[in-house]
Subunit: 402 residues, 2 copies
């Protein structure tokens, strides 16, 4: 089986932008393709993660992005699992390369959330909930996640101040990430004093709305070596769908995430304690706590300590550093692009291109991308520095400055 | 490599229905799973073809359908390429089985077109066109296909009466198909005298709007043999995306369809003259003519003879019978389900379950499902009767009566 690797990456600015989705994609792709000889010839298929057609009244994003990239007559399609769309696209690219379907596959994500569409982002995201049962009750994403947060604060020692510290950590990390939507550090008071969105979640517990696009080329270790580009290997992938309705689930044990992680660990031959950095879909601060437990970084009920340095956490925690990019919370969360933005952070950390936020010696990264409330669908990727053939992989870096 | 087969199928009624999409899916799945021992245990992944979230304000159809099927904690996702969504789902199921990712995969499609949504079917389908270039000009699907039809009538000997005869043939076929939306034969005058939609296309040149769902289980030949169910092998799959904008394409040479078919023929080791029956996405009558040429059944400019019996067609035509189900035109076209409804027709024809519309001795079927105008994205499957291991495959039939 060929070893799938990520060989080049690119992203648009994230936030409120002046560009339509497909132009954001062009910006992302231009960065990914910069300096590669005939990059279009490397692309045997295109997968596009995109959450909602309502923002721009546009479906067929698979063909549209392939056309915009100048890639002709290859399979191209959109995949969707709400906010997990980006990782679903990446997973297909990895599977296609691993299975020998193609030597190179472009995994893309795009979302133009600020375009408004028929009802704006809150309305578009509410379509992820069960129409018959949940939507008709008027639930939104924050109100559903507030249920999880309330339960988590009830069952554990965690406090709202602990969740606030997760936001503080992630904004601090984002301040060192030129790709991030937010570039300034905040303090805990800013979080705790921010307007309530759905108690106990306040404005700064929530990831922002924003536009963005990302592009990642998955290819073989051999081709990456031939290109002379830094590459990270994709060693494990897992995906699992729990049910849609949060009422049917255990709100503090994110079982779908645990199942997806278990598959990914098994494929990679790695355990939670081997992971150096992780991005775990912190759409709301409580997610980072819950998901740190689900994937085995933290003992049950102690995930909220993710904001502490490894040495300050209680026994049983691994040494993983979480959300070095700033996470969804502060790097930003342009829905369909998010899973690929997570991959970009891992790529930059594992190829020595993470600049001031680099974690020295990081070898293994875990990425967790979810759609719906918590684990309605979860995709986990495990990536490792270097890539077979070892001797041929360049270790140069490509710094992002913006 | 395991040989992927279709081992069981099911569909909901097609047309204006009283049920929401997920209940239509339940009807389809109940038929597919009927009589199988522990069918849920066979499902390692779920792919759902679904065109538009606007009809029912519902995304996350992958998880929703997996939940509704009682399939827990497996990968589940929605795939979208407008009207090609169903075949994109089927293609993933085939790839997963062929690559040993799973022993069984459920490929589903669902569309609740009559739910209305924000702007109804015409508006939802127009989202398949380029927002910046095409949608702002007010184009709709019929108006775009009318451009193709005008050009085809200009370049060939075909007349509007020829296109009308394609509709007549497909309604005749539908009258023998208990799954069809339309159950009565029509005559050419009915087509020619029907209201103009976009000249030269009249109402009866156009496939109808309708609700529907379909479910197809793809598994290995061995498992199908163990289950003792009739199975058809999936011998070739091809997919290709041309560009979105029809203005950039040759309107009478459907190049994406030709490319997808070429891949499928090569995988199957078959040629156009080997194909006995075909369903070629007759969303409009002219499509059957154009696509008969693109996949090599008809010489250039003679595809409009698809309505004639094989012996009455000009030299160079193969003996293929087109749209035995009634096609999109009369069997119906519930967008996300259509590619799977095509597979159901092939399954029934190749397992002796096609009743009064059976083509005696049919061994090979070609299915072509498209999204966008013509070949913005095309998926082609080639299926064959029987399935290795030959000795173990049951030849029993399961008749549909409704």
């Amino acid at each position: 089986m060929p070893q799938p690797v990520i060989a080049t990456v690119g992203a648009s600015p994230i936030g409120r932008t002046d560009l339509p989705g497909r132009d954001l994609f062009s910006v992302a792709l231009a960065e990914a393709f910069e300096g590669l000889p005939d990059p279009v010839d490397l692309v045997g298929a295109v997968y596009v993660g995109n959450q909602s057609e309502t923002y721009e009244h546009q479906i067929m994003q698979g063909t549209l992005m392939a056309e915009w990239a100048g890639v002709g007559m290859v399979p191209a399609e959109r995949v969707e699992g709400c906010a997990a769309a980006g990782a679903l696209a990446l997973r297909h690219a990895v599977k296609d390369v691993r299975n020998g379907e193609h030597d190179g596959v472009l995994a893309c994500g795009v979302e133009k959330m600020t375009a408004g569409g028929t009802g704006g982002a809150t309305d578009a995201l509410s379509a992820a909930f069960d129409r018959a049962i949940e939507q008709r009750s008027g639930v939104t994403a924050p109100s559903q996640y507030a249920l999880l947060a309330s339960r988590y604060l009830h069952e554990t020692e965690a406090t709202e101040a602990d969740l606030a510290e997760i936001a503080v950590k992630n904004h601090t990390n984002a301040a060192a990430n030129p790709r991030a939507q937010f570039s300034e550090a905040i303090d805990a008071e800013t979080v705790l004093d921010s307007p309530t969105v759905a108690p106990p979640l306040k404005l700064y517990d929530c990831a922002p709305v924003g536009d963005g696009a990302a592009a990642v080329l998955v290819t073989t270790a051999e081709i990456a070596a031939d290109l002379g580009v830094p590459a990270v290997s994709v060693d494990g992938v897992g995906a699992a769908a729990n049910n849609v309705a949060v009422a049917e689930r255990d709100m503090t044990h994110i079982e779908g995430a645990a199942a997806a992680a278990e598959t990914a660990y098994a494929e990679a031959g790695l355990a939670p304690e081997d992971i150096d950095i992780a991005e775990v879909h912190d759409a709301f601060t409580v997610c980072e706590a819950l998901l740190s437990e689900a994937v085995g970084f933290a003992p049950e009920g102690l995930g909220y300590q993710s904001h502490l340095s490894p040495e300050a956490r209680d026994d049983g925690w691994t040494d993983v550093e979480l959300s070095t990019s700033g996470g969804l919370k502060a790097r930003g969360h342009p829905i369909g692009a998010t899973g690929l933005l997570q991959a970009i952070e891992a790529y930059e950390q594992l190829t020595g291109a993470a600049g001031g936020r680099a974690l020295d010696g990081a070898e293994h990264a875990l990425l967790l991308n979810e759609g719906g409330v918590a684990d309605a669908v979860t995709v986990v990727h495990i990536l490792s520095a270097g890539a077979e053939p070892d001797s041929g992989v360049a270790t140069g870096t490509k710094e992002v400055t913006r």
